[in-house]
């Protein structure tokens, strides 16, 4: 990967560039992709795969709007919103971690990453609790299409978050080594984690609010 040769000097230039010299927008973007190009291939493809799911969901929802609305009302919007905030915060922490890494503040980066990961774990626990309550309430109630979509979307997202936690753990271990080659990996991990956040934003809107 050509990105692994990306040095810290370049990284700090890149950060400055992102921020703008005085917080203003950059005039001309640097032709560079954060992380590995392969990771972006995955992210974009994954987003398109999910788009197919969303299309099916929107179509089916239009067929029987009342049944879907009823299913939707039985979900807890409050928990969903809380989970969204959790993931957003976690995303922020990971973005800050990347910033600290670019400044070669590895200890600080690890602390931030750890906090971000902990929020991710909280997200999973809350999701699991939500499922538990739903299943306890009785599966026959949830026989409709809506709940198949609910369990599929949240289940797939759950899987993505779990994979994301594995990736964050690998990034954490990489940060412990604090060698110069790890920046691309931290960036790739951050990109993946933000994608998980991205998917949750739209899933939250579709399943809980729409």
């Amino acid at each position: 990967m050509s990105n692994s040769s990306f040095t810290y000097e370049q990284a700090s230039q890149f950060t400055e560039h992102l921020q703008g010299p005085s917080g203003s927008a950059p005039d001309k973007p640097i032709a560079r992709v954060p992380g590995q190009a392969a990771m972006w291939f995955f992210v974009v493809g994954d987003l398109w795969i999910f788009t197919c799911y969303f299309a099916c969901y929107a179509y089916d929802r239009a067929q029987e709007p009342m049944a879907f609305l009823q299913g939707q009302l039985s979900l807890s919007q409050d928990l969903g919103a809380f989970n969204t905030v959790l993931l957003l915060t976690s995303s922020l922490l990971v973005a800050l971690c990347l910033k600290a890494t670019r400044k070669q503040q590895h200890t600080q980066a690890r602390q931030l990453l750890l906090m971000g990961g902990t929020l991710g774990v909280c997200f999973l626990l809350i999701k699991a609790a939500e499922w538990y309550v739903k299943i306890e309430a009785g599966l026959p109630v949830m026989s409709g299409q809506f709940f198949i979509y609910y369990f599929m979307f949240t289940g797939l997202h759950f899987m993505h978050v779990s994979l994301g936690l594995v990736i964050l753990t690998l990034v954490y271990l990489e940060l412990k080594k604090a060698t110069a080659g790890n920046l691309a990996m931290v960036e790739a991990g951050a990109v993946y984690w933000h994608m998980v956040d991205l998917l949750w934003i739209i899933i939250f809107a579709l399943l809980y609010l729409m």
């Binding site: 921020q19 927008a25 560079r32 974009v44 788009t51 299309a55 929107a58 969903g80 905030v85 933000h194």
Partner: protein, 101 residues
């Protein structure tokens, strides 16, 4: 040690983006919560307006995450366009199918 040292949290654009994201989340949460009230009347038209706003908010949020957290704003043009094309397609596909299917 303070994990946020040297990050100038309050002047940091990432934090501003995050605050905006949380605020819009709460706004769309309030909007979606009003589904309870609309339920009885089940006005498809009114529901569509609410839905459109909620989806629009989600699209804006995703755009912000892509732009600032994923740093796509400093990426080559093809990636920026791919991401924007995706966002636009999601909006069109979801709302179009929801409205006209």
């Amino acid at each position: 040690m303070n994990p946020f040292r040297n990050l100038s949290l309050f002047q940091n654009r990432l934090t501003h983006v995050w605050a905006f994201l949380v605020a819009t989340t709460l706004a769309s949460w309030w909007l979606g919560g009003s589904a309870h009230r609309i339920m009885e009347g089940a006005l498809a038209q009114e529901r569509f307006t609410t839905t459109s706003i909620i989806i629009a908010i989600a699209i804006i949020k995703m755009r912000l995450v892509i732009w600032h957290f994923m740093e796509v704003k400093a990426c080559p043009r093809w990636l920026r366009w791919t991401c924007d094309a995706w966002l636009l397609s999601v909006a069109i596909i979801v709302l179009g199918l929801y409205r006209f299917a």
